[in-house]
């Protein structure tokens, strides 16, 4: 499906490229969008540091979430006592999440 997506969509671009007019006369046309002004400064330097903690947290809690699937999908075949370690794991993660959310909520330090 992925491959078909590529195979089906690449021709669309190629056809568009063939059909559409191409005029390279105006260098201003190819400037990046800057609201009508001549671009100043580097376009790629912006770095929203304020929300960096969220992406950091994502890396860690994504792991947690999918670990939960390993447990959840097998839960019907497990004894009830097997839930306890997962709850312990979750409790630890909640602690970490509380701290992380508090830190990420303090925008001024990022």
């Amino acid at each position: 499906m992925f491959a078909f997506g590529i195979a089906a969509m690449a021709p669309a671009l190629i056809i568009s490229r063939m059909v559409s007019p191409r005029k390279r006369s105006n260098p201003v046309k190819f400037l990046p969008m800057e609201c009508g002004q001549v671009p100043s400064g580097e376009g790629r330097t912006h770095f929203m540091m304020q929300y960096y903690p969220y992406i950091l947290m994502f890396v860690v809690f994504d792991v947690m979430a999918i670990f939960l699937y390993a447990w959840g999908s097998a839960l019907l075949e497990l004894p009830k006592s097997a839930t306890l370690p997962m709850m312990g794991f979750l409790a630890i993660m909640f602690g970490a999440m509380a701290f992380a959310l508090y830190q990420s909520g303090r925008r001024r330090i990022w």
Partner: protein
Amino acid sequence: MSAIAPKFKLSEFIKSLLDNAFWAVLLASLIGLPIIQIVLFYIEMPVIDGELLTPFLALTWLADPTRSLPILKAFMATDMFRVMAFPGFGFAALIAAGTIFIERKMLAKLQLRVGPFYCGKIEGILQLAGDGLKLISKEIIIPAKADKPIFWAAPVIFVATAAAFVALIPVAPGWVVADIDLGLLGVFAVIGFFPIITILSAWSANSKFPFIGGIRALFQMVSFEIPLILSLLGVVILTGTLNLSEIAASQSSFPWIVFLPVGAIVFFITMLAELERIPFDLPEAESEIVAGWLTEFSGMMYGLVQLGTYLKLYAFAGLFVVLFLGGWNGPMVVPPFPEELLVGVELGPLTVGPFPGLPLFDQEMLNGTLWFVLKTVGVIFFILLPRGVFPRIRIDMLLSLGWTKLIGLAFVNIFIALGLLYAGVLGPGGLQ
């Protein structure tokens, strides 16, 4: 009459058409025909009615409608058909097109206006085709200093990833492109690709507004992935499987939204955020950052991104239906296939049939597809509706919403599911 088209000359137009036609014919004869021959010689043909299908036979059968039906049926059993047409790309694109039309008309009605009106006589039904033609004929402008390979590839890969997502959605019993055992995890893996594509395309444009939009999109998608993953855990706990078809089948008596409304709500909200729809369309907030990460896309590249977006919308709506609304399950409303067609119909003096190969689709499949489409359209309606009544949210509010409220609710949902399971309401020994 210079006002319409400045330098329009009919002769040049015809010449360009002829040029294109020439190239098309040339390419077809040089590449297409050999490919067809290779395909004909090397691909195994299905055996129909005890005869091996050869190209020659197929061609002869095409002349006879009663004999072409088996070919059609055989074709429909292939993977190619699944990928290209029915549960796969074509179907999804059709629903996506319908979605766009519905969105425009519904929003217009809500806002007391008319919406697309002139294109295609009936309420502007061909507006989408017109837009597509417009997009395909517009010049593609790539900003100077852009990272061209990534910039070109991003829209295509975006669509392809959305298509891969579509492939995981079961439409009717047995009708799914990729019926893998861990479909739900596959969904998560596929969703994880979108932020990467977004940020890469935003980076490659070498422009400020796309980059801000891309980073916003990254934060937003990434932050809402966790509540999304967690909100679906309740369903997995109760069904004990990750296979989407099995999950859909498990809801034959009642859908999971009855027991897990919290999870459904959380999933719905995260879905809106992953789809970048209002009120979560921050990456494309036009009053702040022009068009976000789409600012530099032009022409068909933009069209592809939109196509991918709507494919994604269909896929998410389908996922919601499969997980919470019971998928294809629903009362049987499709009438059974008329028996007389199998033996032949008497049309006055002459008898037509019998038609071997009929019915093309069985009754369950049609019914399932019908219910699935109905439910999906309903979900899509509710996805589209907030666009009319909510303003855009702000990024910090969005992130804190995702990380505090939604994750909390998702865990509430998990504990509800656990409670239902351990209380014996559901699960082995329970209702289901």
